[in-house]
Subunit: 646 residues, 2 copies
């Protein structure tokens, strides 16, 4: 493929000839793959094609080694232009173009309708618009942390500019001086519904400039002009604001019947139309042959749904012990453990391995010590959770252990879809969120994150831990440091006692280790099993005491590993006790109780079973009163156990 060094100031005639030939080939493949699939997005693929060709010619990347760490990251934020991207990647030698054409939009194949990072050369799975610039920020940060010169180049659509998250990413990029980031916008003036100016009038240049970016407006098909603009955007000196290239283009460019037709944003040409396109392009019509190939060919099954990123496995250090007299909360224990990780793993003279992100809640989420220890590894991203979730997710794929902390309601409810897409992208993010449940207290219903178990369950890849005291929190954080999975740690706001065994010894101190999928039986008993998590475990122990006073022996199970659940502990409880109660600061529909119910039903085991948890948003007050309002006090639990046992 053509390579144009950044030192080259202008395109020469040989470049232009070669680009014209490339364009013809790529346009052919774009038409072929969409027409054969009977769906897809040829229009935007053709409007973006010129800048895609130039970017892949100018950027540093290696088709023979698609994941080389020093490569420029090219993020396709408008993921529906996959035919154009696949065509340019095929032309660059990443894969066989015919394979792409034959496998496009076929079950099990790599070549999805929206670009996916399973495809060699694709950095980030997109399709949900407005997220690519945030991912690019994370990649540009990673490059700077490594000390390399790699750039992040984010290609976007113009309809996409309507998404608010882009403004958040722009501001973050300016705050952190990401001159090695640039954006290229395909301004073809059309989106699915019609003219962008009618669907949602917007002054795109004013939006970018308003957030402090340099803007270059250019013709997106005049190759010399476009090259000059891209070259400027790719060579912004340190200290300058990043640059956005707004490329005026024509939807369907180069295929006359497609030009400026919104219809071809999201639909393929018919076979007859395709024939007309090939004739216009002066290329062979291979549709019949390719259709036959497509029919015969069985795509080899893809093994991963995301690419394997380099893992950061940290030295977890020595656990801290909190003795039974300690008076603290889990989030402070998290902050202390995170600080330990920074001291052990972020060493002078080498790039920091542990990174922290906060969204204007640094003090509440206890990241102050971390910032003090490792200021260059801490990012304060403002009240911009959508952006931050994606940016942190992308950075977590670059060999750093990234801890993103904010309140549960912002980390996983406000940013649910961003976290879901992080998981799809194989991000290894550590979401350490605080203030979950009614335990958020006086902040009231809008801040009550009583749905995080269900949300985490829905994202499929994240594990979820809900520690019950500071010792367990400390050990959960150290486990996360030595794991490369995406994981969520959920913590309340309030102080909790250090939990003890019956003999009074701290339950999770000393040599105790956190193991995912492993529950802890804090109290043994054969009458009823109480399964609890987080801040409810200490309350379950109070109920245990009340019950013991009445001669009832409860087993108290601390299910700190919620995903994966310790099904063995549930089934043992069903076999060995007479009733099971789940007890949680979470809604009863999708929380610990629901997961427990599933374990029971799937095992075909019946037992007396009761879910105690949140059934409606609470009011604003101290947690114990909020729990009492919903019948969740220790006394309520004890009474419910007595009643359940009959």
């Amino acid at each position: 493929m053509l390579r144009i060094p950044l030192t080259q100031e202008t395109l020469n005639s040989r470049d232009l000839e070669e680009l014209a030939a490339t364009r013809r080939r790529c346009a052919q493949w774009i038409i072929e793959c969409t027409t054969l699939a009977g769906s897809g997005h040829p229009g935007g693929s053709l409007s973006s094609l010129d800048f895609l060709m130039l970017i892949y010619a100018m950027a540093n990347h290696d088709p023979a080694n698609p994941r080389r760490m020093d490569r420029d990251r090219i993020v396709i934020s408008h993921g529906h232009v996959s035919p154009g991207v696949y065509a340019v990647l095929a032309d660059a030698g990443y894969f066989d173009p015919t394979r792409m054409v034959v496998e496009f939009r076929r079950a099990g194949a790599l070549f999805s309708g929206h670009v996916e990072s399973v495809v060699p050369g694709v950095e980030w799975s997109t399709g949900n618009l407005g997220q690519g610039l945030s991912a690019g920020c994370g990649m540009a940060l990673a490059s700077r942390l490594r000390g390399g010169g790699a750039r992040a180049i984010v290609c976007m659509g113009d309809g996409e500019q309507q998404k608010g998250q882009i403004g958040e990413a722009r501001r973050f990029a300016v705050k952190y001086g990401l001159h090695n980031l640039c954006a290229v916008v395909d301004v073809n003036g059309l989106q699915i519904g019609g003219e962008t100016s009618k669907i949602m009038p917007q002054d795109i240049a004013a939006n970018w400039r308003g957030d402090g970016w340099n803007v270059i407006e250019t013709d997106g098909h005049d190759l010399p002009e476009l090259h000059r603009a891209l070259r400027r955007a790719l060579t912004v000196p340190a200290g300058s604001a990043p640059t956005a290239v707004l490329a005026r283009t024509v939807m369907g460019k180069g295929v006359p019947f497609m030009e400026n037709k919104a219809k071809f944003h999201g639909s393929a040409a018919s076979h007859e139309q395709a024939a007309e396109a090939f004739a216009h392009l002066g290329v062979e019509n291979r549709l019949a042959k390719l259709a036959e190939q497509r029919k015969q060919h069985k795509p080899s099954p893809r093994e991963h749904h995301y690419f394997e990123a380099p893992a950061a496995v940290l030295n977890p250090g020595t656990p801290r012990d909190y003795d039974a007299s300690a008076s603290t909360d889990c989030r402070s224990a998290y902050g202390a453990a995170l600080d330990d990780l920074a001291r052990l793993n972020n060493l002078p003279g080498v790039p920091p391995r542990v990174i922290g992100f906060s969204c204007d809640l640094q003090g509440s989420v206890k990241m102050d010590a971390f910032e003090k220890t490792s200021p260059a590894a801490f990012y304060e991203a403002g009240i911009q959770e959508h952006h931050t979730a994606v940016c942190a997710g992308a950075l977590s794929r670059e060999g750093h252990a990234v801890f993103f902390s904010t309140f549960g309601v912002f980390a996983i409810a406000e940013s649910y879809n961003q976290q879901r897409l992080n998981a799809i992208n194989g991000a290894r993010l550590k979401v350490c969120m605080t203030h979950v449940g009614l335990d958020v207290g006086e902040d009231g219903p809008t801040h009550q994150n009583i749905d995080y178990v269900g949300l985490a369950s829905g994202m499929l890849d994240f594990h979820l831990f809900v520690p019950a005291d500071p010792n367990q929190t400390d050990r959960a954080v150290r486990h996360m440091a030595s794991s490369s999975r995406p994981e969520i740690l959920a913590m309340g706001r309030s102080k909790v006692p250090v939990l003890t065994r019956e003999n009074g010894a701290a339950a999770y101190a000393g040599d105790w280790r956190f193991v995912p999928g492993q529950a802890d039986v804090l109290r043994e008993g054969r009458d009823v099993a109480i399964i609890a998590m987080g801040c409810m475990v200490c309350r379950a122990l109070e109920a245990w005491k009340l019950l013991r006073g009445k001669g009832i022996h409860a087993r108290v199970i601390n299910m700190a590993s919620v995903i994966p659940l310790d099904r063995g502990a549930v089934l043992a409880a069903a076999r060995e006790t007479r009733a099971i109660i789940t007890y949680e600061d979470h809604n009863i529909h999708t929380g610990l109780g629901a997961l427990t119910a599933n374990a029971l039903a799937e095992a075909g085991i019946s037992t007396r079973f009761l879910k105690m948890g949140v059934t409606r948003f609470g009011s604003s007050g101290v947690p114990d009163e909020l729990f009492a309002e919903q019948g969740l006090s220790p006394a309520d639990l004890a009474n419910a156990a007595i009643k359940l046992l009959g």
Copy 2:
């Protein structure tokens, strides 16, 4: 309270005297309530206080009748300044100030840490930042639809300006010419983490201007200047862009030790500090007395967690019948039914009762006919789902039946938190989402909405219906038209056959009516029960046929009402058949299978039970192949049934 008519051009000296007295009273209550609660946000309350006083003096509202339809809607987007808002509302006569001070941040009371719409005079529960302007857009639209002159006035913080959703709302407001909307921003330069200019540098004025708003920058404590600015913002003529007032203020204004201290963004003065504040204000220190009252006083329990909005109950019209030869998809049936509703309920000369919102997917979600029938009732909000969810939600509380349609992944995953807050606010939104499940087909994993049951469950108030064919869809839509609940309708993308009874008659045509909480037994059988929803029901019928060929009699249950679930049908299946299989185009962790498992476990019933559903994100291809990839074909189902029966 002081009233300043909008005809009055400048404040006179009596106004100024009265405002000074009001300010002193309100500042006292702000300090009192936060110090007594030991938490809260006095700093922003004091910086916003002057514009809050003026707005409530200038706006049209009636403390004696807080929900009068012609009132101006004052939305407090920075909901943490609740002490300031409550103080001004108390001063206006909405409730007794001492009651507020005594009940602030107490479990069960009205006076939450963040403003809630249960409080007389509060329009929208906030606290999660960045959403108020969207709610204001919905209210301003409602006013225009009614033909009244009511305004929507949105008060915001400056840290909050970082949220991207605000840009989406700004653009929507300009597109739809909402001159009766205005924004007032408290630019105190501080947020929780410190100086706004350090947390996230931002040119707020440029952001507003860039999206086409008029901006007035003013001193937020110079009352005559502030009054002039607000007056201009409140009297923007039709055809002009809406106005944002950026009010430069001082955090903690009027209480010297609080001024310009970020600490007092989110923490209360000590009793000693409060005494100092009262001395400075020249007011009595009533803390001891109030603390005693607070101790004695038991707040009367709140009955609702949201305010009862006027309901729009439509004429549902006559159901359409699709006969067994029809070849269509559920979303087309939705579009046709919605069009019927528009014809019946949006009558010439009166405000439309049925409103539609789309996010650039009007054709895909089948709203074209609706728009043609009722163009003035259709809003194309662009690729701005966060904004649209809130805007549509707010409009749904104003006596209109609002249908918001986009793909499932955008309607409920991307906008999860917005929908959750809609529910908290008592919105009666109808979320009619399409392209759910692997049935989205070639769009690939980023578009696979395989978590909507879990998400809907987490929002607590929404009902969720997943119809299985066009007839059932039509009837579900007509049910929604005659219900005032928040409801979600989930539809796939693909065509589905019209479902029939064993005798060949269309199952859901004619007199059949959709009833929430009521499943339909499509095929009777006593060997195994297959519980399915949506596009899997027709596949379950194929499996039924395969099983019958082997002498196995399956009961096929169409669980179109997923929330509420028909528990009776589940328990009957457990009693009357030998095994239950749930079969769904949704993840198995939080979907129909999980809800069924819960029903079984909670009833203490054990049976052979198998959940068949999505276990990982699929690839990009035709739905039948995506189902086969995950072992979800009808043949897989039949085989699983045989195996389960042993």
